[in-house]
Amino acid sequence: MEKRATFSSTTIGILFALPMLVLIFVFFYWPSGQALFWAFTLEQPWGGGNRWVGFQNFQQLLSDPVYWNSISRSMIFGLGSTAIAMGMALILALFTDRELRGHGAYRSIFVWPYAIAAPALGLAFRFILAPEAGLLSLINQVWPGIWNPALDGNDAMIAVIIAFSWKYIGYNFIFFLSALQSIPRSLIEAAAMDGSGPARRMWDIQLPLLTPTLFFLLVINITESFQDSFGIVDIMTQGGPARATELMVYKIYFDGFKGLDYSGAAAQSIILMVLVILLTFVQFRFIERRVHYK
């Protein structure tokens, strides 16, 4: 008979899990529960009391066309930045994996952007992308008025998407590179011996074997783009010009932390949470089918 070392008592098991459970409760479920409660009330910021108002906060938000616009802008931002961040990272990883000259240096350099805090990043990009004084002002000297994120909503959206993607390229790069390096060399060498060039090998061998990583990063990038973008928006555009970059998460930050409208912000974060859960669900339901784990 096979011998197994198991815990006879469930109590000990639970005791081992307890520290982690407490952490998760304190840092995730408790605040989420609080937000859920506030979303159905009107909370006085200094804690003088609150009133139960049912679905009023949600009703006001969902009947506001401006709020719907910010939802669709968040979608555009999420899809745009995810596409750029993942696409660029994949290309960089594929080239680094081919061991081009200096690949050792690239391997560490490409990771750095992820270590930069969003506000510092926003400041740097605000300078780089400033239409009159920044580095990009050169193109305005060639074609006057072609680039102006301060006054053109589309340019502003492009600017925040670039800044955000730049940060996540580094993050995605690590995952892609390690996934590429775990692909057995023999497969690639066999394909090379059969006469397929680098591009063919990437398309037919490396990419299909990367699908689990691609899927994981897709979920993470979409989620992060909905949640992690407020710092960059706050520094670069403050949601302007004329609401062009007012993403859902920036509005939560502004209404809650600056405007002291705790209940409105709580209701918005519940909506955002539901939206992210839905998006993740859709991805697992429809995209994961095409992922080959083995």
Partner: protein, 449 residues
């Protein structure tokens, strides 16, 4: 974010343990404020002077980085029972704390601690901005400013003028002449949330026009925004006209140069900004540039009213011990001294908040010296007319920051997307009113003090 917070909390805990026994003989109180950079240093110096002036109390002053962050941290600390004794709250946060009951009213504190304060010594415009509707002072006006017009004398000399425009009609002609004389930016301005104050609230104030009914909200939480109905509409139309003609140019951080920087560099010839920028412009202005300040223009035929004070006031929070309140009272008594007003106005661009402080500055010839001359116009602008003569007491609206954001969004739609002026301002007012109604509902059952 959480890790940072934990780290900070840990640091405070360690610091408190270390500092605990050493200062046991002194009563120690915390003072949290929002100013950063140079002003934060000046506040720190003031705290140091207080600590050196006596041996019973020690005030620990901590900058929280910005008004918003300071208010946010103070609220979080208050809700956790760890609040500082003194907190700085900016104009936009005044109504929330006033309705909260989380404070020890300033007038009561000073009376309880045995100090007699002549509250009428505060300039009326400053006093009324922070006072209750009945005129009681619940907080101490601290760093105070108002908006002024800054003009480049060299450029105006080129168009044959030796004085700043006093009316908007005159200003319009000046902008036109400056443009014709080859200046690319006669008026530099911006329409972001933090920079429409001088074009919105201050414009309405000096014209004596309400931003909202019920005396700008002083007479009840059920006030409604009316800025879309008066002279402001015409002003925005004029401003848009200047903008379309290239006589007014948007200068912001996003374009690469703020209007204050543009003025100091000689790139823009007129700007409207806080008197708090006076010192900064004096230090950074292009070598040899002649410039001056003037009160905000009004439309011809308008009787000038007082402009509003900007900045913040100091609140004493509830739930501290008798000894801590004694320390706070001593601190307030100290910073009220005329000598402190002189030092404060010398090292910052802020103005004295009391008549006695102002008189002391005048007596010392402060306003005759080169870098400070002109700042007396801020006092003149703040005291142009009393409330009996038709000036409004201030703005007492809930969600003021969000309302400013709506005004800013309305202006951006007008200037950037060329939307109709009246329709955009109407929409901004309607959205602002929703914010006011929600605020009113949140505080239902409470009466405005």
């Amino acid at each position: 974010m959480n890790a940072k917070l934990l780290g900070a909390v840990g640091m405070f805990a360690v610091a408190a343990l270390l500092a605990g026994p050493a200062a046991a003989d002194k009563t120690k109180i915390d003072f949290w404020f929002g100013n950063s950079g140079d002003i934060a240093k000046r506040v720190q110096e003031q705290c140091d002077r207080f600590n050196a002036s006596q041996s019973d109390y020690q005030v620990v002053c901590t900058s929280q980085g910005s008004y918003d962050a300071s208010l946010q941290n103070t609220i979080a600390a208050f809700r956790a029972g760890q609040q500082p004794t003194i907190a700085q709250v900016s104009d936009a946060g005044t109504l929330d704390i006033m309705l909260s009951g989380a404070y020890y009213p300033a007038n009561k504190l000073m009376a309880d601690m045995g100090y007699t304060v002549d509250w009428s010594d505060y300039f009326s415009g400053i006093r009324s901005y922070y006072a209750t509707s009945k005129g009681d002072m619940y907080s101490f006006p601290f760093n105070s400013s108002t908006a002024l017009l800054y003009w480049n004398k060299d450029a105006f000399a080129k168009i044959g003028k030796d004085h700043a425009p006093a009316t908007w009609e005159e200003a319009a002609a000046d902008f036109k002449a400056l443009k014709a004389a080859g200046y690319s930016c006669p008026l530099g301005f911006n329409i972001s949330r933090d920079e429409i104050w001088q074009y919105g609230e201050q414009f309405l104030a000096v014209h004596g026009e309400p931003i909202a009914t019920k005396k700008n909200g002083y007479e009840g939480l059920d006030a409604e925004l009316v800025f879309n109905k008066g002279k402001w509409v015409q002003f925005i139309k004029d401003l848009k006209g200047w903008y379309d003609n290239g006589e007014a140019v948007i200068k912001s951080k996003e374009t690469g140069q703020t209007f204050v920087e543009a003025f100091a560099a000689g790139d823009c010839q007129v700007i409207l900004t806080s008197v708090g920028d006076h010192g900064n412009i004096g230090r950074t202005a292009k070598e040899g540039m002649n410039w001056g300040v003037a009160m905000l223009p009004v439309y011809a035929g308008t009787e000038r009213k007082s402009s509003f004070v900007g900045g913040a006031s100091l609140w004493v929070l509830a739930g501290k011990s008798e000894a801590e309140y004694k320390a706070a009272a001593a601190f307030f008594n100290f910073i009220a001294k005329p000598e402190e007003a002189l030092t404060w106005s010398t090292v910052t661009g802020y103005i004295p908040v009391r008549q006695s402080g102002y008189d002391y500055l005048v007596k010392n010839g402060f306003y005759e010296k080169a870098p400070y001359a002109g700042r007396e116009l801020a006092i003149k602008s703040l005291t142009a007319a009393t409330t009996e003569q038709g000036s409004l007491p201030g703005i007492r609206l809930g969600g003021l920051l969000q309302i400013r954001q709506e005004m800013s969004n309305g202006l951006q739609a007008i200037f950037i997307k060329n939307e109709d002026v009246q329709a955009s301002l109407d929409e901004a007012a309607a959205r602002g009113n929703q914010i006011l109604r929600k605020f009113e509902q949140t505080y239902q059952g409470k009466t405005l003090p």
